[in-house]
């Protein structure tokens, strides 16, 4: 179709990337905060708190993100009769999904720090939260970087599912333009390049971080 020049297509894809970025940032921040809470709950010595965290993680890890988006957007309306706006529904679903995975990754990293570190810290006289903050977490962070960043890259790509709720983000925009011009290789190739440009900086940053935190 005339009017869809190469620069026009690329511009449209870039504009659509705005939603991919917004949804990804919401997922990172929301998921990060709640994930940290989940991780701490999971390692708690209180059995109930630990069990709640476990159920949360198992549920949101075990169900597909598409289903979670659908539940947040349509399911919520059916149960309560209240319509959540697309942004709120997508934020809830993405935050829950990201927090479950990040919480479990961080829980694993904390538990991988040798028990001796906790005992030594307690011997010096640190309370529980001081032990965590000053001794255990700094060591756990090093272990957690690679899986965390790996998962965050997945989340960026996972935001493409939010198109069912009404966001014209990168993947959906590519699909719309393709339906009109039928130049699949060009359009999806460009979209792929943009996704790569979004994801690669994260990986590069994680490699830098790992080098910085490595034991000399």
């Amino acid at each position: 179709m005339d009017g869809f020049t190469l620069s026009r297509i690329f511009l449209n894809l870039l504009i659509a990337t705005k939603w991919t970025l917004i949804l990804s940032v919401i997922a990172f921040i929301g998921g990060g905060l709640i994930g940290a809470l989940i991780a701490l709950m999971r390692i708690s010595s209180n059995k109930i708190v630990s069990r709640i965290s476990w159920i949360y993680v198992e549920f949101f890890q075990g169900t597909p993100l598409l289903l979670q988006l659908f539940l947040a957007f349509f399911g919520f309306s059916v149960i309560t009769g209240v319509n959540l706006s697309p942004l709120v529904a997508a934020s809830i679903a993405l935050t829950a999904y990201t927090s479950a995975f990040l919480g479990d990754i961080w829980r694993g990293a904390i538990q991988a720090v040798p028990r001796g570190q906790w005992q030594a810290a307690s011997a010096i006289g640190f309370g529980y939260f001081d032990q965590l903050k000053l001794i255990v977490l700094p060591q756990a962070v090093r272990l957690a970087i690679a899986p965390t960043v790996g998962f965050l890259v997945q989340v960026i790509k996972g935001t493409s599912l939010a198109s069912i709720i009404g966001f014209t983000e990168l993947s959906r925009a590519a699909s719309l333009i393709n339906n009109v011009t039928l130049q699949s290789l060009l359009i999806f190739g460009l979209a792929g390049l943009i996704y790569f440009a979004l994801c690669y900086p994260l990986s590069a940053w994680s490699q830098q971080l790992e080098k910085k935190l490595a034991y000399k």
Binding site: A16, L67, F74, V78, N83, V180
Partner: protein, 301 residues
């Protein structure tokens, strides 16, 4: 030795049983929550909400609500040319969008267009996020149970298309001619069925719609059986070939979808559709987006 193996087995058994129990618990939890919208199986279309749940949603007089707020929200397709697609500025355009504009004009309300992904049109309507669906919506019995349909406003049919030298006006005229069709499509089934009684029809099956279309343009076949949507694009891209529709195989027109039980609203929409047909505007739209005039069956309802 045996007792040790048995001990091991016993230990493993208990662990496995606990694993199985936990697995089942989480499975039922998930399924229970996911299936809380009533019956677990919806045949055919995805994402359907059952009649029991529709009853739970507040019934509002949509017409009164629209007149009060002055706004009407319409779900349209965004990835289905020529019914709904995007222009280079990524704005929705198409036959359905024009139809939405006409209906909004008739209702005297401001139009808000909400592009939706095809499989989720009906849930958008049922959860009150849109007031009507104008999205090449076909009518079938399953859908009729949960939403209401207006009069047809758009043609969606399979027909035989050919150039000026293919003079066929009914199935029998196809004898001795070659017909191209996309393999496995609705048209393939129709034409195979209908030509059983007619002898020596050479049906050539191609992998997809664009190959079928190229076959007609390059003269490999006398005529093709395809949907009017594909034909519209074909006619538009090849104006010199003078391709026209010869006769219709199967008619499955498009309807406007509204919530179940909203009789007042449907009546008003039908009124608007009738006036748009009479004024010739619908024919104009059909010519602009499909490259052909409105077929008789729709124009005269």
């Amino acid at each position: 030795m045996v007792s040790e193996v048995l001990d091991l087995f016993w230990a493993a058994f208990w662990r496995r049983q606990r694993f199985v129990a936990l697995f089942m618990a989480s499975f039922f939890l998930t399924v229970g929550i996911a299936a809380c919208s009533g019956e677990p199986n919806s045949v055919g279309s995805k994402a359907q909400i059952t009649p029991e749940d529709v009853a739970k949603l507040p019934i509002q007089a949509t017409l009164a609500q629209i007149q009060e707020s002055g706004q009407v929200k319409v779900a349209v397709p965004s990835d289905f040319p020529p019914f709904g697609f995007v222009n280079p500025r990524m704005q929705p355009i198409g036959y359905d969008i024009d139809m939405a504009k006409e209906i909004a004009k008739g209702l005297g309300a401001e139009l808000e267009i909400i592009p939706v992904v095809g499989g989720y049109r009906i849930p958008f309507l049922q959860t009150d996020r849109v007031d009507m669906i104008i999205s090449s919506l076909g009518k079938n019995d399953e859908r009729d149970l949960i939403i209401d349909f207006s009069e047809p406003y758009a043609p969606f049919f399979s027909a035989i298309y050919g150039g000026p030298n293919a003079e066929v006006s009914q199935i029998e005229d196809l004898e001795g001619r070659s017909i191209g069709v996309a393999q496995g499509s609705l048209e393939d089934l129709e034409i195979s069925e209908l030509t059983k009684t007619v002898g020596s029809v050479d049906i050539k099956r191609y992998a997809n719609n664009s190959l079928t279309a190229s076959a007609l343009v390059s003269g490999q076949v006398d005529a093709i059986a395809t949907g009017n949507v594909v034909a519209a694009k074909l006619i538009q891209d090849n104006p010199t070939k003078e391709i026209t529709s010869k006769f219709v195989l199967k008619d499955s027109p498009c309807y406007v979808g509204v919530r179940e039980g909203d009789a007042e609203f449907v009546a008003k929409i039908n009124e608007i559709i009738a006036s748009v047909k009479q004024s010739g505007r619908l024919n104009e739209m059909s010519q602009a987006w499909f490259g052909e005039p409105l077929p008789e069956a729709i124009a005269n309802t």
